[in-house]
């Protein structure tokens, strides 16, 4: 059964309510151990791969060297033949035959190292994908368990603090009311601000002698004087 299916079955079966683990702790530990083993194999495979690739490079160098040497000796044979020294030419040709045998050996070794390197690279890639997949599955199990444990911690906290969980609608009402209050305050603030600016405008008008003026002592006296007449 896939991990997905296991989790689904466990949740549906009410394992969460009974406080049961989705997959028993022992199985989780085994799974974790499997992942660690796979990771160890992966490290080893990578190390092997480095070794093989080093051998491959050494073989390649040897092939290059032998090829150069063969070409060089072929030149010598030509020179010996030009001089008519058949015996020397034959001796050099023997040397070339030996070199060619070594070259064939090295070529074979090189091919074999290349093959191993390819296989190891493929293996490393495959193992890496497998480890990633196992980790994803383990993460699903652990996350489900973690959320269940977190939920029980939250529920316990609510129960112990005696705080009543409101219904969603009531919560929304309260939040909206607070938001309304906040908005009203903002509006009131803006209103007050604009009123203040009104007053300051009036003050400016007054200073400029525009609009109604305050009753000053002088104007009162003038009024009273006029009455007496």
């Amino acid at each position: 059964m896939s991990i997905f299916k296991k989790i689904m079955t466990a949740i549906r079966g009410g394992a969460s309510e009974a406080g049961e683990a989705i997959i028993d702790a022992n199985a989780t530990r085994i799974f974790e151990q499997e992942i660690r083993d796979a990771e160890n194999h992966l490290t080893k495979a990578k190390r092997d791969l480095t070794g093989v690739m080093a051998e491959q490079m050494a073989a390649k160098r040897e092939i290059d060297r032998l090829t150069r040497e063969i070409t060089e000796h072929e030149g010598y044979v030509a020179q010996a033949l030009e001089k008519g020294d058949e015996t020397l030419a034959l001796a050099i040709a023997e040397k070339i035959a030996n070199l060619e045998a070594s070259l064939a050996d090295q070529q074979q070794a090189h091919d074999s190292f290349s093959g191993s390197a390819e296989r190891l690279k493929e293996l490393v890639k495959k193992s890496e994908r497998q480890v990633a997949e196992h980790k994803r599955q383990l993460s699903m199990v652990k996350t489900t368990e973690s959320v269940q444990k977190a939920t029980s911690a939250i529920t316990d906290n609510f129960t112990s603090s005696n705080s009543k969980l409101l219904s969603a609608k009531d919560s929304l009402e309260r939040i909206k009311a607070k938001q309304q209050k906040f908005d009203d305050k903002m509006k009131a603030g803006e209103l007050l601000e604009s009123e203040n600016s009104d007053t300051s405008l009036q003050a400016q008008l007054k200073a400029a002698g525009i609009g109604s003026q305050d009753n000053s002592a002088n104007s009162v006296l003038e009024r009273l004087k006029a009455k007496q007449k």
């Binding site: 996350t143 959320v147 444990k149 029980s152 219904s167 969603a168 609608k169 919560s171």
Partner: protein, 137 residues
């Protein structure tokens, strides 16, 4: 990244958060550490944060199964499924008999990402309750 570093960060923001929200953090102890985050003016809908090996999970509880009008439950489920992708950053889920919205972040997220996640989650939760209230008792 653990719930304590998240709490320290959010508390240090005070009134200067980028999101304009003011966070109050309260750790809840249990088998798994959980951080209860209340947002000023929205205390009724706290967000619960827990950190696993590879994820930061932020959950806001929406409503109980028994708050749903019985003959509306299928329509509600369908609406929730349809809303799941359009809703930014958050998804719906059900834990026990409670419907939730949640967001999961990589453990390598920045504090700014976490803060943004919490703000969006809170906005989503409020909007979802408002929009789905026809389905609720």
């Amino acid at each position: 990244m653990n719930i304590h570093t998240i709490a320290d960060h959010l508390n240090s923001l005070a009134d200067n958060s980028d999101t304009g929200m003011s966070f109050d953090c309260q750790p809840i102890s249990g088998e798994v550490d959980v951080l209860q985050i209340s947002i000023l003016e929205r205390e009724e809908l706290p967000i619960f944060v827990s950190v696993t090996e590879d994820q930061i999970i932020c959950i806001s509880y929406l409503w109980d199964v028994d708050e749903v009008k019985p003959d509306c439950i299928n329509d509600m489920h369908e609406s929730m499924l349809e809303m799941n992708i359009p809703m930014p950053l958050s998804s719906f889920s059900k834990i026990g008999d409670k419907y939730v919205v949640f967001g999961a972040l990589s453990i390598n997220s920045s504090f700014a990402d976490v803060e943004h996640e919490l703000a969006v989650l809170s906005n989503n939760a409020i909007e979802v309750i408002d929009d789905m209230s026809d389905f609720l008792l």
